[in-house]
Symmetry: D2
Subunit: 288 residues, 4 copies
């Protein structure tokens, strides 16, 4: 879970794998009086292996750890070892915008968990292409923006959405947002976007997947939370869940059960992302 | 579980849905002094709905319930209501042949469970296109037949397999049998064939599915047990299972975990089939 | 799921087990032009076995099925066979009062699901011994009554609660209500009361169960939904759920995960109860 | 999974928590040309926190890593920092003895997984207080010793068991061994002993737990794998599993389902133990 109250900082590191990285990073932190409280590493397949590390440390010096330790880290460790890195203040929740259409289950689950302090997110905006959920969002004291989208107005709508986002957000969550975001939008938004969609074993292409699943006698239905890329529903997978169904469940009931697994799966994915645990590397993710 | 020791009979009924079927069947059984101990019905979607019923009853009359009650049932109930039906002696295990290639996990799991009395099957034959598992099968006291299959000898091999089956079997289980059975084989065998194969959310077509799953960052891998039809891996689904994986699991470990979920999923599917619970109807199944 | 829109009726039957019950009930319904759409039976252990049946039927006659068919059923079937029985209109949601203390997760989950039409309940009242959740409940347009309870005022508080319930409710759900209801309250309320509480493998008696679970290295935590009896937390179990935890989860995180499994487990239990699927028989339940 | 083929070594460290431990250990390994491939740490609760670390490294120097690096590690890191530590050759499977009574499911699952290379164990001995499973064990080519145990001969039997173990084993697994081992046996054996037993939510004390579970309407049954201590069934928990059951499952079926979850849970626990992932600390375990 997020470390919202203790003065903790996360250091995220990615670089070509080689011997001695852990030693260098931990030596640096130790010498700067930072106490490591959690540390995870992972190296991708041999060959051109990439080394990934997430280190949580406590630092009680003056000022922000990132500002004070950053330049020294760059000079002593980051640049010599050819790293990409960043420091994240673990107390700062991710500034999050939620996009939604008409289904409320994922949206309400996120808002409620955020209010309970279960998710380290600060939801500053909900955008919808339908007005239906405005009152629900208002009851949480969060701004709701209705941005209708039609085939003709899509470009305009995306401009409006980008304007609303400005540069104030760290994350967009698509909580059953039924519009496809263009490659241009993704590029200009420039922040991670997490989506949730239903999944089956096996998969069913095309319209009416719950109906198709029922016709095939599927016994498990699932949900996949993933980062959005230009390949629709094909981005790196963050988390998945399943729930058991039977022939007694009609298509409506399948969708309800799907809704349950969607909201819990999305909540886990958002939590891990906001704790800086998820590294997208190539087409896959590593959850540190 | 199977009712192997008490004198129980199962009546399986399928017919166009209409009012009064349950009343007719239960009246018949009651009048013939049969005591219903389990009763499940299901009607498929409205429209041209199909009514399915599985009734387990105790009957202590002279002779076999099927032979004694059968003609009266046909005359009084089955034919007037346009039914398909059959009586099955619940004490009689299904005579089963297992086809396997080199992977032992599904085969051994079935043989153990059968030996422990967990599965109402009587395994009379194991056929393999490789000799590797002969000693294992021998230790269970079961005949093992090595029938090699190459592209050139496939027709001949299938003839040999059909000859081995004769008309002595109720069921074939493909316990990771890596050859595709021809439509001709399926037609001539004329008995249900259950297969197990790996499944993912989403599905991965083509070769190396575990590698593909790993590349996409899949978090759940699964298995699907289904009846074999001419559409490879597309037959009606009997049962599915999943297991959780992570980026730490390499392709070998993914396959091991897949093996675990394959064997438990196949065992459940075989158990339900042999308890006469599974009705394939169209492309789906109903598990009564 | 509940059948809120089609004119369906549920017939619930309980009686000493004997041959011919299914035949009698189905003959009766057939003769009165009722079409059975779902039918489940169960007989408890041999010996003094109890027969339980839940039959859902469509009936398009004039008036309420219960009123029109009831007297005939009593005379022809119910009384001759020594049954307890009742007819329930499947379109009528259960009138439900929710008792809660300070934790909001189970309460909000029930209110959301009810609003979405997922649960066949009509929540007419929320009672709490704390004022905290009043605004949340108000946003659903549901009356909220604050009835403080202290050791001294418990009897008085229970009288007030009984007065609020009147005879307008079919069900009370304790959605993390942290007070023990007296035997007198249970007797006078005279309606089913469903409770949810955390569970572990193995169980931990006494205070601080999450802390105890953590100290023992528990890897799974669970929740149990049950009917309330005078034996605290010992009533017949309706449903259970579990979630995986690890040593990395501190006591706070364990409680959060517990909250998640509590709310989904309670929601399933309430749904089954309100679909008249759950029969408490002795210390156990049968979910038909 | 176990790293049986690459020349890898595991370093297991436990010491009072303080700043700089990771830096020291990783500096040492780096300076001795060891490449860290996996690294996990955990600190128990604040206060008298204990720091635990499991580091897997590749070392291609001459000789055994433990022998070559050990003395230097002791002098430079282990003793100055007040550590307990050990080096383990990751290629060396744990020498394992299995104790069993009459139930075969856990035993066969372990032997089969070991044969497949799924479990890094080398099973050198099976001891049973019954002769029943001798032939099964023989078919794996493993010595089987029948050591009967009665109330009168228990001390003598334990002496015989200790004699059979000698000092040739790293681990004893109780695969449904239905005898209680004395405190004296545990002390003299001096190696970890893993046990599996059934678990329920809630727990049922006394005889016939499956019958009790059924009487209470339990919906989930489970299994707990734990280290054996003198407190029977109360040792630190390594792993747990559950499986869903219903009122339709009689006591025999509950036990069968229990057997399934017992064998998979035990196999996971043994795998983790043999990969040196499990640290028992106080009454709990940490799985690194």
């Amino acid at each position: 879970m997020a470390d919202l109250e203790t003065p903790r900082t996360r250091l995220l590191v990615s670089c070509p794998d080689r011997q001695g990285i852990i030693a260098e990073v931990s030596r640096f932190l130790n010498e700067h009086d930072a106490n490591i409280v959690e540390n995870n590493q992972y190296s991708t397949e041999p060959g051109e292996s990439v080394f990934l590390q997430r280190t949580v440390f406590e630092w009680t010096g003056e000022g922000e750890a990132a500002e004070v330790l950053g330049p020294a880290f760059a000079a002593e460790v980051g640049e010599p070892l050819g790293m990409e890195w960043r420091f994240e203040d673990a107390r700062r929740p991710k500034r999050t915008a939620i996009f939604v259409s008409r289904y409320d289950h994922c949206l309400l689950d996120l808002l409620w968990r955020a209010r309970r302090g279960e998710l380290p997110i600060d939801v500053g905006l909900v955008v919808s292409n339908h007005p239906d959920l405005g009152a629900d969002v208002a009851s949480f004291g969060i701004p709701f923006e209705h941005v209708p989208v039609t085939k003709e107005t899509k470009a305009e709508a995306e401009s409006r959405q980008l304007e609303l986002l400005g540069d104030e957000y760290d994350l967009v969550v698509l909580a059953r947002y039924m519009q496809i975001l263009s490659g241009g939008f993704l590029a200009r938004a420039g922040i991670p976007i997490i989506n949730i969609h239903h999944s089956f074993l096996p998969a069913f292409a095309g319209a009416g997947p719950y109906r198709q699943a029922r016709e095939r006698g599927v016994k498990l239905i699932g949900a996949t939370a993933h980062y959005v890329t230009e390949d629709l529903d094909e981005g790196p997978i963050i988390e998945q869940g399943v729930v058991r169904v039977s022939h007694r469940d009609d298509a409506i009931e399948l969708e309800r059960r799907g809704a349950d697994v969607e909201r819990t799966t999305l909540a886990r994915a958002v939590a891990w992302h906001c704790e800086d645990r998820v590294v997208a590397t190539g087409a896959t993710t590593v959850v540190l």
